[in-house]
């Protein structure tokens, strides 16, 4: 199991286009991937789940991947987070 923490710096938090792209990236991997925010945890492959968390600016979130491609998954997700300007 791999676990990483991110600080959300985007002014608008995680929603709209970045959220969709994050879900798309996660969906490419076999691992179970979860997004945790304020003691709630959702499946990162679920757009409704991700949006229902309402992650805003300066939030701290944890993403966990569990499976045969957990490391690659988290690398790709980190990459998307950065390219979409969600985190520094």
């Amino acid at each position: 199991m791999e676990k990483r923490q991110y600080n959300i710096t985007a002014e608008t938090g995680i929603h709209a286009r970045p959220a969709t792209l994050l879900v798309q990236t996660a969906s490419k991997f076999n691992s179970d991937i979860t997004l945790e925010y304020q003691e709630k945890s959702v499946n990162l492959k679920s757009i409704m789940g991700v949006m229902s968390l309402g992650v805003g600016q300066s939030a701290s979130v944890t993403i966990t991947a569990d499976g045969d491609d957990e490391k690659e998954a988290l690398d790709a997700i980190t990459e998307t987070m950065k390219s979409e300007g969600l985190t520094d």
């Binding site: 929603h15 879900v23 492959k45 757009i47 409704m48 789940g49 949006m51 229902s52």
Partner: protein, 573 residues
């Protein structure tokens, strides 16, 4: 054959088959099912068909209308691919033995509730609309009730709709949508304005029951008279084909007026300008020979976005407009937002009386940061052409002076930074009766006035222009309205201030003779009205029209009488 009457909203004649853009009946009962596997298979099938449909719509929209318009369908597909959502619906079918319709509605409602409860997040509140839309599509396939999808139209049609929203019209493929029939609103409703911009013949305020028109029925829309004929006879078809041909011929003849100056028969030169809101409209204005832009509605920049437009984005649009108009005058109206044109991201409170509420200049003066950004963009763009600015909904001289001070302040700051600035004229929209009554005082402080008749008439008559039950009170030819307009124009001229008009009335063929008689200096109208108005003015002797105008304001007591005078004045001796 059945003949119906409505309000002629957009010129032209269309003959095609009906396409009903209506809400289907998606009601269902909660049922207990025995074979949950079969029920899940039924759900999967409905979701697959919905996804395929959405992909088609998305590609079509992308090709015909652009990326921005297609984005929403991408979001719909993403929702239907959500593993958690699907799992919850399926679990509900398996464990509670309910039908797919019930499970789908139950689960999607729970998400909608979560999103709606996020009071601080407007984006998510809007996403609940996406969930509703996409669930409606799946539900329609489960129930076998077809949804009407404007983006799926692949042949020539007449749209039959209760009312059209901007998102409906955004999906119209221009070559297929030939005409529009709607039972809502008047000439100034959204459907009517959109149909004129798209140059699609339209009848609004339809007086029959839309339910009487079935999908595929042949329909004739006469946007010149307001007539709608359902299932026409062969004779009627032929008569309308002939009328359509004559209309097209007339339009071609009008082409001769494209590059001509507007001149009355006795040599007076009022200006005919166009009302526009987007860069797309600008091309139509130029193509129709506009001598200027009398109203650029800047609020579209604010409404087509999910955040405030930046100074740079605004500057680029304003600069393009004045450059393309190549020295011809362009009047920009500062943002007329708030009230009924609500912007979710501005968090304005809901009001019981939006037309009398917190909107336009009232909002600008209260939130000067947003106002200043727009003024800076306009001032910078003034270096590239002939640019004027007017403020909407001005009620008092103090409001104008306040707005002007803010303008001067921004202008001085830009000049201090050596940024080139043109010679900018400042004016007001005359649409609040208080400003109209005090026009002589305003004339001392403004560079020009532009009468906004759409709102002025509704305020003078105390009648909401969107309310069909009182639409008879929306009377541009009422002598009370005409007296007020004349007093504004007279007050302007007594002070050497030019008087313009930018409401629908300025392009109204029955009002133009009166307004020419009142000496209106600029008529700003929908691009499609320009050529016929120029042709009309060429036939008018302004001296005779002065007599007409005086008669309407001194002798007439009703709109009917005014129209009779106009009719008499236009009859050739």
């Amino acid at each position: 054959m059945t003949k119906f009457k409505g309000i002629a909203a957009s010129d032209g004649i269309a003959i095609a088959s009906a396409f009903r853009l209506t809400e289907p009946d998606l009601s269902f009962n909660k049922e207990t099912i025995k074979d949950s596997d079969a029920e899940i298979a039924r759900l999967n099938q409905a979701i697959e068909v919905s996804k395929q449909e959405l992909r088609t719509i998305q590609q079509r929209t992308l090709k015909d209308l652009g990326r921005h318009e297609a984005e929403v369908f991408k979001a719909h597909i993403a929702i239907l691919s959500d593993p958690e959502l699907l799992k919850r619906i399926k679990t509900m079918i398996e464990t509670r033995h309910v039908n797919a319709e019930y499970a789908l509605k139950n689960v999607s409602d729970s998400y909608i509730q979560i999103f709606n409860s996020m009071t601080d997040n407007d984006y998510l509140k809007q996403r609940s609309t996406d969930i509703k839309d996409v669930m409606k599509r799946v539900l329609s396939h489960l129930l076998g009730v077809p949804l009407s999808d404007p983006a799926l139209i692949d042949h020539q049609v007449i749209i039959i709709a209760h009312d059209l929203t901007p998102s409906d019209t955004a999906q119209f493929v221009p070559n297929y949508v030939k005409g529009i029939v709607s039972d809502m609103g008047g000439r100034t409703s959204h459907s009517a304005i959109m149909s004129r911009t798209m140059e699609i013949p339209a009848v609004v305020g339809f007086q029959g029951s839309l339910a009487d028109i079935k999908d595929g029925d042949p329909v004739i829309v006469d946007g010149l008279t307001g007539n709608v004929i359902v299932k026409p006879t062969a004779d009627e078809r032929q008569a309308y084909h002939e009328k359509q041909r004559q209309y097209q011929q007339r339009n071609e003849q009008l082409g001769a007026f494209r590059n001509a100056a507007t001149t009355s028969s006795d040599g007076k030169h009022p200006i005919i300008a166009a009302n526009i809101g987007t860069l797309d409209d600008l091309q139509a204005a130029i193509d129709n020979g506009a001598e200027g832009i009398g109203l650029f509605r800047t609020e579209f920049l604010y409404m087509d976005s999910d955040k405030l437009p930046s100074e740079e984005a605004q500057f680029n649009v304003y600069k393009t407009v004045v450059q393309k108009m190549a020295g011809k005058p362009v009047i920009f109206r500062t943002a007329d937002i708030g009230g009924d044109k609500d912007l979710p991201y501005l968090h304005t409170p809901h009001e019981a009386n939006p037309f009398l509420g917190y909107r336009a200049i009232r909002m600008s003066l209260d939130q000067p940061d947003v106002f200043r950004t727009q003024l800076r963009a306009l001032i910078r763009a003034s270096a590239f052409g002939n640019l004027s600015i007017m403020f909407p909904m001005i009620a008092t001289v103090t409001e104008f002076k306040h707005a002007k001070r803010i303008f001067e302040d921004e202008r001085t700051k830009l000049v201090a930074k050596d940024i080139p600035v043109g010679n900018i004229k400042l004016g007001i929209m005359v649409e609040v009766p208080a400003a109209a009554l005090l026009a002589d005082q305003f004339a001392n402080v403004v560079d020009f006035m532009s009468i906004g008749t759409n709102d002025l008439i509704q305020y003078v008559m105390a009648a909401d222009r969107g309310n069909r039950r009182i639409s008879y009170l929306y009377q541009p030819y009422n002598p009370a309205v005409l007296r007020l307009i004349k007093s504004v124009i007279d007050a302007c001229h007594d002070n050497g201030t030019p008087a313009y008009m930018c409401g629908e009335m300025a392009g109204d063929q029955k009002a133009i003779p009166i307004l020419v008689g009142m000496g209106l200096n600029e008529f700003s109208m929908s691009a499609t009205s320009i050529l016929k108005s120029r042709a009309l003015i060429k036939e008018l002797d302004s001296r005779e029209m002065v007599t007409l105008a005086n008669k309407t304001v001194s002798l007439a007591s009703t709109s009917q009488q005014v129209l009779k005078y106009v009719h008499q004045a236009l009859e050739k001796p």
